[in-house]
Amino acid sequence: MDLNLSPEDRAFRDQTRRWLEANVPRTELKTLEERRAWHRTMFEAGYVGMAWPKEYGGQGATPMKVAIVADEMARANAPAPINGLGIGFIGPTIIIHGTAAQKERYLKKILSAEEIWCQLYSEPNSGSDLASLRTRAEDKGEHFLVNGQKIWTSGGHISDWGILLARTDPNVAKHRGISCFLLNMRQPGVEVRPLKQITGSAEFNEVFMTNARVEKSDLIGRLGQGWEIAQTTLGFERGGNSIARVTRYASAFERLVDAAKKLKRGGKPLLEDPLVRAKLGRVYAEMEVQRYAALRVLSMLQKGDSPGAASSITKLSYSEFEKRYYELCLEILGPYGQVTDGGLEESTLDVDSSSGVRSSWAYAFLWARAGTIYSGSSEIQKNVIGERVLGLPKEIRADRVKS
């Protein structure tokens, strides 16, 4: 056990920190073009797709280096590079399962963000039960015709391409009839609608596919291999960002303490109120434990062991913590924490919500509710942990009883 960064990693961290200090845009990036430009700057500096193999334009960087960059970016409050999904797991999926032609055609433009990608997995009626998805892809000879609806597509409105799960064989058991495709989003058959959240903003889209066309050459892997491909790649990156996530929590904590100094009760700053202190101590302890746990996962990845099903523990842990965290923030801040506009300066504290958006406490509080739902709800994570980590017997379920 040695929790020190290696000299090499420390040097890399310092160099990254210096680079970010010099290059992070001073003003908020508004247009897509500004974000593309920032992406290109990071890409040219070698901070994008670091984990990708060299032959595909990456650097085969260690998980630690990847985590260091993510962490330093969070620390420097740097805008994320665009095309996160493309780089985080769609590219890697193509690298693992794609044909030479597909790699040639897509990978470079993912890295450079010349083409932006989104994920087309979830459907309105297939949330936790992804395998029940209904979107059809019919074989029309030299191409596939896609019909169906997807939901929870982030960045759908700016995407050029999407990785798609669709049913190609309705006659086999539900997992086995699914295939994985690359869908051109820029065609008449694809309609993207913003999906507004309880936060009031639309971080996601709905995507409607009506006779959308997919080239035969854009099938990934074999027909019916879609489920397997989705499984192997869904795990990507989980853990990799978790240090950075905690760093964002920590910067929110600093702002919380600032607020607790400014706001008063009984003539004294809230920070001197023992109940407030007890709550601060509680969240800080939990936050630190999230950080320790993230380091543990990272050290595992460093050694080339994949956490596998145990990554469900990470997801469950941080998403439930984040919910408690912002609930406690709003408890401490009272009505000040719910004001979104027009209040005293105390009531307009900017925080970085874990969605990456700079916003109000109210936004961060509401956004945190998504964490225990998306990419496997807490209930699903507990099932996975119970079954695959603890080896508890499978539950008796209708779809299992039937089959």
Binding site: G127, D129, I198, K264, L333, P335, E379
Partner: protein, 367 residues
């Protein structure tokens, strides 16, 4: 001993439910969220005609001389509809004027409020995050027999539509509650935007504002406002929580995953069971408190704090769990669940938060 509603009370509840299902649909609520004023004059007039605004006011003022239990019944239903309206602060202020006000104040305000031509509110917070007497900085000075108020009040509900504001202020050695007309010179109201646009809050600045003749006596009036405000807010939170529970249960019965309704999974059914437990306990807390305060029971003030402390936590859990039971759809703006979730959340820190009321409880029971 009878803990159930009387036939009249049940009738009131049913008619309120029917009325709000018709006139305060989610679509109406959403429209009012987008409305700059944030509430509906028509709805207000209808409430007046239904006798809701004078419910607890004396008959000579055009009221029905009913009590806090009936008021809580309406407040629960208003919370259930997440109805954007100044009902809670208005009836709260009216009850205080009725209890503590001068004849002139009663004549001036009670008939107007009961009739729906006036709205009122109470200013219980200042810049400090505190509900205690000690936090009152606003000063009242005697000038020519009139009280002149100077100070800033925070998070005053519906002040921007109110005609009358009850303002606690330091008057010499004590804190008294003064009645200030929003139309009076020196009164300025600055609305805030908050998470629940159905509870509009404002900053009220008093710069030498002249209070109406007469004052409400110290201490007592402030306690009165805090206690009855706490019960009213608890009733609304209860209504919001019950709505979230109902939606979650209905959804769990029909939504299928893995080939069966999600309500047949223990994870969901047990969550719903816990939610029901919290809702039922909240119901007991709200109506016990309403009845005890109304009937001057010794433990009335205690029960008011118990209700606010308990229901604040319970409604947060229930409304939050309802989102979890729904999954993704419960996180969308188009789905109505967040209307009720946000209503419960908005009331958590108003009229004293749970921590403050727990402290009040200990002051009463552990001397």
């Amino acid at each position: 001993m009878d803990f159930s509603f009387s036939p009249d009370q049940q009738l009131l509840k049913n008619s309120a439910r029917a009325f709000l299902d018709e006139h305060a649909k989610a679509a109406h609520v959403r429209a009012l969220w987008d409305d700059p004023r944030g509430e509906s004059e028509t709805l207000w007039k209808e409430m007046a005609q239904l006798g809701w605004l004078g419910l607890a006011l004396p008959e000579e003022a055009g009221g029905s001389a009913l009590g806090l239990v009936e008021t809580a019944i309406l407040q629960e239903e208003l919370g259930r509809a997440a109805c954007p309206s100044a009902y809670l602060p208005t009836v709260l202020a009216a009850m205080a004027v009725d209890r503590f006000g001068s004849a002139a104040q009663k004549n001036r305000w009670l008939p107007a409020i009961a009739g729906g031509s006036a709205r009122a509110t109470v200013a219980l917070m200042e810049r400090e995050l505190d509900w205690d007497l000690r936090s009152v900085q606003t000063r009242a000075e005697e000038r020519g027999g009139k009280a002149v108020l100077t100070g800033v009040k925070q998070f005053v509900p519906w002040a921007h539509v109110a005609d009358l504001i009850l303002v606690p202020a330091v008057a010499g050695a004590t804190v008294a509650v003064f009645a200030v007309e929003t139309s009076a010179p020196g009164v300025s109201v600055t609305p805030l935007t908050s998470m629940d646009p159905g509870v509009r809050l404002s900053t009220v600045t008093l710069d030498g504002a002249v209070a109406t003749e007469g004052r409400l006596p110290s201490g007592g009036a402030l306690d009165f406002l805090l206690q009855r405000g706490a019960v009213g807010a608890s009733a609304e939170m209860l209504g919001a929580a019950r709505r979230c529970l109902d939606m979650a249960v209905d959804y769990a019965k029909v939504r299928e995953q893995f080939g069966q309704p999600i309500g047949s999974f223990q994870a969901i059914r047990h969550k719903c069971a816990e939610m029901l437990l919290e809702v039922e306990n909240s119901f007991s807390a709200v109506y016990y408190a309403a009845w005890s305060l109304e009937n001057g029971a010794e433990d009335g003030p205690l029960a008011a704090s118990v209700a606010k402390a308990y229901v604040s936590d319970a409604s947060r859990k229930v409304c939050g769990d309802a989102i979890q039971v729904h999954g993704g759809i419960g996180f969308t703006w188009e789905y109505d669940l967040h209307l009720y979730f946000k209503r419960a959340k908005a009331l958590e820190p108003l009229y004293g938060d749970a921590d403050y009321h727990r402290e009040l409880i200990v002051r009463r029971v552990a001397r």
